[in-house]
Amino acid sequence: MDKNIQTINQPVNTDFEVRSQHAMCVNKSELDKPLWTNWKYAVLGIAFGIVFVKAEIVSWLRIQEMFRLESFHMYGVIGSAVVVGLISVMLIKKLRIRSLDGEPIIFTPKQFNKGQIFGGLMFGFGWALTGACPGPLFAQIGSGALVVCVTLLSAIAGTWTYGKLREHLPH
């Protein structure tokens, strides 16, 4: 399936970025499963959304506190999430844990390109303005701030514009 995506994308991208772009969204599972089996991801998403709201990670004020160095909260959240993720990944590799479908778990290395700098800075600007990364946008809408739909639509438009201009941007 990986190969599938790459072949389709090949006309534009022969030399850079294909892997690391896809590493964000690639479905490494080779299995074709019916739609309803995705309920597990919805349940995980619900748990995730609850944590987002309960820990006030989706609060514009908390994000401001982070960038003004007025609170340790967000640094603690991201830092401890990375530590737990790091240990889990080490255990998965060391114990060769397989997925529930019995497939070996694969990690794809990301390739460096200038997009991580330019795009990273742009996202940073947007993060401080909206007080939300993509995940919290969905949680904010769910929590009742329906006007954030505008921000989400604008983010989708931004992604679309990136796709449109991609060949002309430095990578």
Binding site: V12, F48, E56, G85, S88, S154
Partner: protein, 187 residues
């Protein structure tokens, strides 16, 4: 117990729970944690417009859309059934600075002074919601990921490009907050 649940959760509870999403997704279905790609799948599904970047079988990545739909429902459940009745505990300096621009709402996760349908008709609201959202969508895809894909998944797997991206996310946030936002808030 119920009291603990309704209070804001501290970082040492929320952070590890978020970190556990990484092995949970890997074990459930061999999926790499990442949220911003959901925006790409929406483009691929709704308006691919012959753009090569959106020519792929988004249906194979539909798990990601289920995941973000779950986040939306989770946000609803937490806000309606587990809500904290108290105002948020925000650093007094931040509230004092914001009060200069008539922003005083510390009861909502999304301050109503800044993000509302009415605010959308002002220059400040347009910049913060429309331009801000655009930068989030464009920037995350250009960088190849967001806080979840780069900062959490990328750093958990020790990828140095993700460290570069994470540092740039933070640098962008600091630049905006300290150099530009004071002028935007005063609009």
């Amino acid at each position: 117990m119920l009291e603990f649940i309704s209070k804001p959760w501290p970082w040492y509870v929320a952070g590890p729970l978020i970190g556990l999403t990484v092995p949970a997704l890997l074990i459930i279905g061999n999926k790499s944690f990442g949220i911003s790609s959901s925006l790409r799948h929406m483009c691929a599904a709704c308006l691919p417009a012959n753009i090569p970047f959106f020519q792929y079988d988004w249906k194979k990545e539909v798990w990601n859309l289920f995941f973000v739909a779950g986040i939306l429902v989770g946000g609803f459940l937490a806000a309606h059934f587990l809500a904290n009745p108290e105002p948020m505990q925000i650093h007094p300096d931040l509230m004092a600075d914001l009060a200069k621009n008539n922003i005083t709402d510390n009861r909502h996760l999304v301050p109503a002074d800044l993000f509302s349908w009415q605010a959308l008709t002002t220059a400040r609201g347009l910049i913060m919601m429309v331009a801000g959202g655009f930068l989030v969508g464009f920037g995350t895809r250009y960088a190849g990921g967001c806080t979840s894909g780069h900062a959490i998944m990328g750093l958990s797997t020790l990828q140095w490009p993700s460290l570069v991206a994470t540092c740039c996310f933070m640098a962008g946030g600091f630049i905006m907050t300290h150099l530009l936002l004071p002028y935007i808030l005063a609009l």
